[in-house]
Assembly symmetry: C2
């Protein structure tokens, strides 16, 4: 059977919208602007596909009611958080109802003693950290965008801190999920670990809304470190920078962030963020620890950097310098866009074992050159995860073709290095075509799970599986 083809003939959308209007009143919106906003296409290179209606939900129970109506009328449901996903995750391929969770922003319960917090789906990671500011705690996972926490769980997001703190996979303790028939489940309790049956939380994390809608989640928090130090240093080439990364990880330095930026990205950052870094492959670093521990980490890293030929290690000693550095890192995408203003841009990602990172990055750089593309590389080197930020003319067939073929080669290159076609962006519609090569018959197992949990194929249909 062709994957994803088990149901793409849906029911009476007009009747579903009518029923949803009765439930939600003016929180069921059908005007074109709002529908278009919810169909993707604004932040990604995938053309948007608007849903037929947008349902703004306020509670788990309301999401359940919405889902029951959609199930009854057999219409697609597309969960929507901040709309910041990059691979067409919110596109309404078959129309249907976008369920917008961005108004569900409550902090349900903070358990400082257990270092966890339960929040509603639509809270963003930034707003959570603002809320936590006076508690001495923080939530470390930081994808580039102002994503919602449920959206981050749904795409198994990570970011710059993952090398130390893990990804959403490691940091979700429990979730409330509305299943495709409207049933509300909890994936577990609040204990740090459990051996009681299948790991439903991990099954939902990364399922991209194809198995249910995450409406609440309990996530791990961490104490804000006593000391935070940032640093930057450059290397003669990518290989040397990567060897320094591997040695850092092997030495057990509990580094919080170790980010790789290639020479072109440094050039872009220098221009955009008014820095004067050497235009060479560079590592941005952050160390978390006690006063003594942090200094020790810095000393150990300095020694490693020196061993691999770096001679310009600079620690940012003031908060201002540190912020400037990391602001530049966080603005890498915009800096890259500025290299070719007026064009279209896209960010893609792959991830490989760190022993293959240098080789994969070096080959990718050469490929970008050979293709005549503009594409700086920036990566979470400690995880083997990197991004290419491409600028191109979306109105040029030649450019689109070049980009398409480059993305194809990149995904396959990563897979050939025992890696994955995406480390943190997810599959959506953009990378479904690489799933068979990556998972072989494992894809059929995923598909069997999908069919078992969502027999009507109403949960975000057309994503992950290639139809």
């Amino acid at each position: 059977m062709k994957l994803n083809s088990y149901n793409s003939s849906y029911g009476d959308i007009a009747a579903a919208i009518e029923a949803l209007k009765q439930l939600l009143g003016d929180k069921l919106v059908t005007n074109e602007i709002v529908r278009k906003q919810h169909g993707g296409g604004e932040v990604t290179y995938h053309k948007g596909q608007a849903p037929d209606g947008v349902a703004f939900a306020k509670s788990t129970e309301q999401v359940s009611e919405i889902v029951k109506i959609c199930a009854k009328f057999n219409v697609p449901i597309i969960p929507y958080g901040a709309g910041s996903s990059l691979e067409g995750h919110v596109n309404a391929l078959f129309g249907g109802i976008s369920v917008d969770l961005s108004e569900m922003t409550e902090i349900v319960a903070l358990h400082s003693e257990d270092l966890d917090v339960t929040v509603q789906a639509g809270l963003t990671r930034q707003d959570l950290n603002v809320y936590l500011r006076d508690t001495g705690l923080f939530f470390p996972i930081d994808p580039g965008a102002e994503a919602t926490l449920a959206g981050m769980a749904a795409t198994r997001a990570s970011g710059t801190n993952a090398v130390r703190y893990g990804t959403m996979r490691e940091n979700v303790i429990n979730m409330t999920v509305v299943m495709p028939d409207g049933e509300i489940i909890k994936t577990g309790g609040r204990a740090r670990k459990s051996s009681a049956g299948y790991d439903l939380a991990r099954l939902m994390i990364g399922s991209e809304g194809t198995l249910g809608i995450i409406t609440e989640l309990t996530i791990r928090l961490y104490g804000i470190p006593e000391k935070i130090l940032s640093a930057v240093c450059s290397f003669e080439n990518t290989q040397k920078a990567c060897e320094a990364v591997i040695m850092t990880i092997q030495s057990g330095i509990p580094i919080a962030r170790i980010e790789f930026l290639d020479a072109l990205q440094i050039k872009a950052c220098n221009q955009y963020s008014k820095l004067d870094l050497k235009v060479k492959p560079t590592l941005f670093l952050e160390f978390h620890g006690s006063d003594v521990g942090c200094d020790e980490q810095v000393d150990m890293f300095k020694y490693i950097a020196d061993e691999f030929g770096s001679d310009d290690f600079v620690a940012a000693s003031t908060l201002e310098d540190r912020n400037k550095l990391w602001e530049a890192r966080h603005n890498a995408y915009w800096a890259a866009c500025d290299l070719a203003p007026g064009t279209s841009h896209l960010s893609t990602d792959v991830c490989v074992p760190i022993s293959n990172f240098a080789q994969c990055v070096t080959e990718t750089s050469q490929d970008i050159l050979d293709s005549g593309l503009i594409g700086p590389i920036v990566g979470h080197a400690g995880d083997g995860n990197f991004h290419v930020l491409l600028s191109f003319d979306a109105n040029s067939d030649a450019d689109n073709k070049k980009v398409k073929h480059f993305l194809d080669r990149l995904a396959k290159r990563a897979q050939s290095y025992e890696g994955t076609c995406t480390g943190e962006h997810g599959i959506g519609i953009g990378k479904a075509k690489y799933m068979r090569a990556e998972h072989g018959k494992g894809l059929d197992i995923m598909f069997a799970v999908k069919q078992a949990i969502d027999p009507q194929n109403i949960m975000n249909p057309g994503k992950i599986f290639y139809g």
Copy 2:
């Protein structure tokens, strides 16, 4: 539908055994001693149930052939590693074939640069660490038994180091799994993270052989810390000890082990391991780090212990003292058994959020007293996970009843504290009856997954789901 009842009428076992004999020769064993050994009942309080035959496998491909034969003849398959699981996981409830993986002990590939190793299913954690001894690396997950690594994955095992290094959930990168139809899948690549589709590894981890047979796994390794310090200190009561644990975790001390032993367990350890510890609620601790970092952790912890009224903090300064201390901890079960020699023993576990740990342990201690049972308590306090080591007369109906009711109250107590009926032992047949209370409708989702992946219900039938 009653869970687990979708198929318990199996096919022609004699024909299956005949076909397996043709495939395996004398590696298909049907003599009664070997069958009984493989039916559980030796290490657990569950009465053993022998399979009809035991197939000793040598490779993934051979496991696949075995499974295909069992699927063809519609007979149950029970994966078997070291047989050290505690909740009747290897019992052959419906007869069938025990697939023994203990001869699959190869190290397939060591990737020091990536801090990972790929091993065959039947390698034990101890043998892995012996192999790694000269590499400077180690694998930290340490359940009490000499378990196989695939068995540890199948039951989502953990142990004393989980507070720092996580459980099998966090430490498996990739697995090769033989599915119920004999197909061989890999759950992913070797990258540290991936957002490419459903998390098949995490789905298999903790599935207790009900979804497939894990034949190979790639797991994370860690650098052996520069310095390891052990320590012990006692507290006036359980509450104080637990408050010290919470404060330690909250302070971000990266403690490697923080084990709670109640007064009775200390008494048992004193007797069994010739120690002279104060007979009071006690913490056993281990600190991993650099030279400076380790000392700093000890200083911080000392301060906390002092704050909660402990006045006898002692660091084990020599390797000999350290080994003596941790040997005593590892022998806690045997020490507990020695409290009532000649009786039967069982170890059970539950896990709660650490803020509820003291209350749950205190109530459990009282319950043990009230029940007239002998049952010291020992726990991985940093995770909120604890064990009760019960001694009782298995030939006495009154004792069996007492134990049964106590276990029941314990599981429900943990659940009432937002915890789980098992933190690391798993469900097997012993705790299936608590699954509905713990997971509600989530159990139906698990069951839907089970049916989708194993429509014949031949993979370890009768486990996890209550029939």
